[in-house]
C-alpha cells in the first residue's frame, strides 16, 4: 500500500520501455535495407525508433552498417532468431552477447541483444547465412523511448 502511494507521488514521466516499443512496431515492415556481401557495400541502419526489414545475402553472410557518434548503449531486436552472427567495429570483431527473447512478445521478437557501442565510428552487423530471405530488425537506444503526451 505504501509503495502504491509512493508511486502515485512520482512525477509523471512518459518514457516507454524499449522492449514494449519494439513489440508495438513488430508488425511494421519499416524501412527496406539490403545487406551487402561485404562491409563496403553494407546498407545502413541507425539507432532510432523505427524498424527495418533487411534483405539478406542469399546463402552467405551479409552486412549492415551502423554509424555511431559516441558511447551509445542500445538494444538490437531481431524478428527471427539465429540470424545475427557477429558485430564488427570497423575491421575489429567485437562479437555479440548472448541473446534473450523480448520478454513482452517472445514469439514475435525471439531475440534481443544488449549492445554497447562504446566509441564513435562505423559498426557492421553481420547477418546470416540464413534460410530466410529477410529479417525484421530494430535498433533502439537502451536509455528508453519517450513519447509525447499527445501520442
Amino acid at each position: 500500500m505504501i509503495l502504491y502511494a509512493l508511486l502515485a507521488c512520482t512525477p509523471k514521466e512518459e518514457v516507454e520501455d524499449p522492449e514494449a516499443h519494439a513489440c508495438e512496431h513488430v508488425a511494421e515492415a519499416g524501412t527496406a535495407v539490403t545487406a551487402g556481401a561485404d562491409p563496403a557495400s553494407a546498407g545502413a541502419i541507425s539507432v532510432g525508433e523505427e524498424p527495418y526489414t533487411v534483405t539478406l545475402v542469399d546463402g552467405a553472410a551479409g552486412y549492415v552498417s551502423i554509424a555511431i557518434d559516441g558511447d551509445t548503449p542500445a538494444l538490437l531486436f531481431m524478428g527471427v532468431a539465429d540470424v545475427a552472427a557477429t558485430l564488427w567495429h570497423e575491421t575489429e570483431e567485437e562479437g555479440l552477447p548472448a541473446p534473450a527473447p523480448n520478454d513482452l512478445c517472445p514469439t514475435d521478437i525471439p531475440e534481443h541483444y544488449d549492445l554497447d557501442f562504446h566509441e564513435a565510428g562505423t559498426y557492421y552487423l553481420e547477418l546470416g547465412p540464413a534460410a530466410v530471405s529477410d529479417v525484421w530488425v530494430m535498433l533502439t537506444s537502451a536509455e528508453g523511448h519517450a513519447h509525447s503526451e499527445e501520442e
Binding site: 546463402g59 527471427v80 540470424v83 548472448a98 534473450a100 540464413a130 534460410a131 530466410v132
Partner: protein
C-alpha cells in the same frame, strides 16, 4: 506425436500450497526458420548444410527444484552482483558473455552451502527421437508443498546422431555419440506460497535448435572420411558439448485460483 502418461511423479512431503494438474514436456530438434532447410537439414553459421538422419537423446528425469540452504543468495536484479550485469527476464549477463538464470546466480552467491533440491519429479527413462519429437503428458501433482521453485532440471545421458554435412559439392558423414550428463537446467519463477494462485498449468520444453553445429568446420574435423564427434576432449566434440550445455529447458506458466466446488 506420442503422448505418454507417466505415473512416476514424486513430491517432497509438506503442506499443500498448490497443484500441477496437467504438466507437459515437449522435446525436439527444431532448427527454427533461420536454420531450417527442410528434410531435417540444418544450415550452420559457416554455411554447412547438415542433414540429420537420426537423433536420439537419452533422458532420465524431470525435476522442479528449489534452492535450499545457504544465506545471502538473493539479489536485486536492478543491482546485479559483481560478475553480472543487465538482469532481466529471469537471466543475467555474466561477464564471460553467457546468460545465467537468476537461480544459478543465487546458487553462486550462496556458495557451496546451498543446493537445488527436488520439489516434484517425474521419471522419463527413455531415448527420445529428436526428429519425431516427443510430447509427454506428465502425471498430475495434486499437492505441491510450500516452496520456491526456481529451476527445472532434466537429467540426460548420451546423444546419438547420424547425418551428413555438405558444402560446395563435398559430403562428409557425421556421427555423434556424446555423454550429456548431468543434463539440462533452466530457471523458472514458480513459488508456491500464500498470495500466489495455487493451480498451475505448466508446460516445459527442451528444444535443440539449428545452431547445434555452429562454428564447426567439418572439413577440418574430418578423419578417415567422416566426422566422429565422440570424444569430449577433442576440440570439435568439446565445441558440440558446449553448444548442448547452453540448451535450457523453458517453461510456460499459467496460474489460476482454486476452482469453486
Amino acid at each position: 506425436m506420442i503422448v505418454l502418461l507417466l505415473a512416476a511423479c514424486t513430491f517432497a512431503p509438506g503442506r499443500g500450497f498448490g497443484t500441477l494438474p496437467d504438466p507437459t514436456l515437449h522435446v525436439a530438434l527444431e532448427p527454427g526458420p533461420a536454420r531450417d532447410l527442410g528434410d531435417h537439414t540444418l544450415l550452420t553459421n559457416l554455411g554447412w548444410e547438415v542433414q540429420v538422419d537420426a537423433a536420439g537423446l537419452e533422458l532420465g528425469a524431470v525435476e522442479l527444484q528449489e534452492l535450499v540452504g545457504g544465506a545471502g543468495g538473493s539479489f536485486d536484479p536492478a543491482d546485479p552482483p559483481e560478475g553480472y550485469s543487465l538482469c532481466h527476464g529471469g537471466h543475467c549477463h555474466a561477464d564471460d558473455g553467457s546468460l545465467v538464470s537468476y537461480a544459478e546466480v543465487e546458487a553462486q552467491l550462496a556458495g557451496g552451502s546451498a543446493s537445488f533440491v527436488a520439489v516434484s519429479s517425474w521419471a522419463l527413462d527413455a531415448e527420445v527421437d529428436l526428429l519425431a519429437g516427443l510430447d509427454v503428458a506428465l502425471s498430475s501433482v495434486s499437492t505441491v508443498p510450500a516452496s520456491d521453485i526456481s529451476q527445472v532440471a532434466i537429467t540426460a545421458g548420451r546423444l546419438h546422431l547420424e547425418g551428413t554435412a555438405r558444402t560446395d559439392g563435398t559430403a562428409i558423414p557425421v556421427r555423434v555419440d556424446l555423454d550429456l550428463a548431468p543434463g539440462f537446467t533452466g530457471g523458472l519463477d514458480l513459488p508456491f506460497e500464500r498470495g500466489e494462485d495455487p493451480v498451475v498449468d505448466l508446460a516445459l520444453a527442451l528444444v535443440v535448435d539449428g545452431t547445434l553445429f555452429d562454428d564447426l568446420d567439418f572439413a577440418t574435423a574430418a578423419a578417415d572420411g567422416e566426422v566422429a564427434l565422440d570424444d569430449p576432449s577433442d576440440p570439435s566434440g568439446a565445441l558440440l558439448l558446449a553448444r548442448l550445455a547452453a540448451v535450457e529447458p523453458v517453461s510456460t506458466i499459467e496460474r489460476s485460483p482454486w476452482s469453486e466446488p
